[in-house]
């Protein structure tokens, strides 16, 4: 039996794990042999919902550092949470 990693990115509305999902990405180290995401879009309504489905949190975003003159700019989505689950195949 071999372990393979599945990685789930969720971009949430705000910095708290229980806020709404606005974007997502899924990378499947099992190449389809492991469980897949729920069919709903988004697959989880929040980061908390992903935890409740068995995903483990790997990375939580730090609050944005503020730089004078650029405080009001918008760039990449800031609330990026990364999850994993390890699948026996």
């Amino acid at each position: 039996m071999t372990k393979r990693q599945q990685v789930l990115y969720l971009w949430l509305a705000e910095g708290a794990l229980d806020t709404e999902t606005i974007g997502w990405a899924f990378h499947d180290g099992t190449d389809g042999d492991g469980p897949q995401l729920p069919d709903e879009e988004p697959p989880y309504v929040s980061g908390l919902a992903a935890l409740q489905d068995g995903w483990f949190l790997m990375q939580s975003p730090s609050p944005l550092a503020l730089h004078p003159g650029t405080e009001h700019e918008v760039s990449y989505l800031v609330n990026e949470f990364i999850f994993e689950r390890r699948i026996d195949i």
Partner: protein
């Protein structure tokens, strides 16, 4: 009918500032749609020949150079020349980037039937400057594109986010994203910063799309049809948390896409307000008082020093 009769309204301009695109279904006449693909095929061949270091001898239209005024890019009798000189097209172009903008580049995007080629989301070119001026990109679809049949994917209202071109490829799905489908002759106009991506074409029909990027050569201030401007251009007191209008530019700029939730959306509104300040030449314009509040404090500090 002259170009001036086809200029965008203030409402449409505000919608462009909010969403980063406008869509005009079946704008281009069928005579052009039915005949232009032959020109596109030669243009595509010439571009590829040039890129691989061969003389662009496929025939057909000559490749224009960057910095060529739009009116001089293609012969007016060619189908592409006719398209780019339609009063309906020039009215849109002039409203957004002023008269006779400069040709940046164009490209024929042909997705062969059955193509599995799929792009990540991206922004064209490189990370952009912070000023509010902008280029436009026309996306023209000469044939019907069925849902899922290779239409361009894009995410409305991402255009004001300053990112590196490929830095947004990590976002596989965003709420509210769209994939173009529509009837022949449809023209989409994108702000140059809008996130987009080519998609597979599982259909049995090649999908053709022509894209051209245009740079303004004059100020973009008040180039559109100003008839409705005074009616909807609001002052800086138009404020959701105090007294607000529901018929103003600010109200259009408040509209949010499904991926824009939470307090983060306020920064989006602030960026839209800066673009509208530039376009309207009103340095006091605001949406929901965010700039005005801060600028008043700046003035206090300046007066006390």
């Amino acid at each position: 009918m002259p170009v001036s009769n086809h200029k965008l309204t203030t409402q449409e301009m505000a919608r462009f500032v909010a969403d980063g695109y406008l869509r005009f279904d079946k704008l281009i006449p069928s005579e052009i749609n039915q005949n232009i693909i032959r020109e596109f095929s030669l243009l595509e061949s010439n571009k590829i020949l040039q890129i691989v270091g061969q003389p662009p001898e496929a025939g057909g239209l000559q490749l224009p150079a960057s910095l060529t005024p739009l009116s001089e890019c293609y012969p007016p009798q060619s189908f592409l020349g006719q398209l780019l000189n339609l009063p309906e097209v020039l009215g849109i172009v002039e409203s957004l980037v002023g008269p006779n903008p400069l040709f940046d580049h164009d490209f024929v995007h042909r997705l062969q039937a059955g193509s599995e080629y799929k792009q990540h989301l991206h922004v064209d070119a490189v990370v952009d400057s912070a000023d509010p001026s902008f280029d436009i990109q026309l996306f023209y679809f000469p044939q019907d594109v069925a849902p899922g049949a290779g239409g361009t994917r894009f995410v409305p209202a991402t255009h004001l986010r300053r990112t590196r071109a490929e830095g947004v490829g990590r976002y596989q799905h965003l709420l509210g994203e769209q994939q173009f489908s529509g009837e022949a002759g449809t023209l989409m106009v994108f702000h140059h910063g809008l996130w987009h991506a080519g998609q597979p074409n599982p259909s049995d029909v090649d999908r053709w799309m022509y894209k051209i990027r245009l740079n303004p050569r004059v100020s973009q201030v008040r180039q559109w049809n100003m008839e409705d401007f005074d009616d909807i251009h609001n002052d800086s007191s138009d404020h959701t948390f105090a007294r607000m209008r529901h018929d103003s530019v600010a109200q259009i700029l408040r509209s949010l896409q499904p991926w824009q939730k939470g307090h983060e959306a306020r920064y989006e509104q602030m960026q839209r307000a800066l673009v509208w300040r530039y376009l309207s030449n009103d340095p006091g314009f605001d949406v929901d008082y965010y700039h005005t509040r801060i600028e008043q404090r700046v003035r206090l500090i300046e007066e006390s020093s």
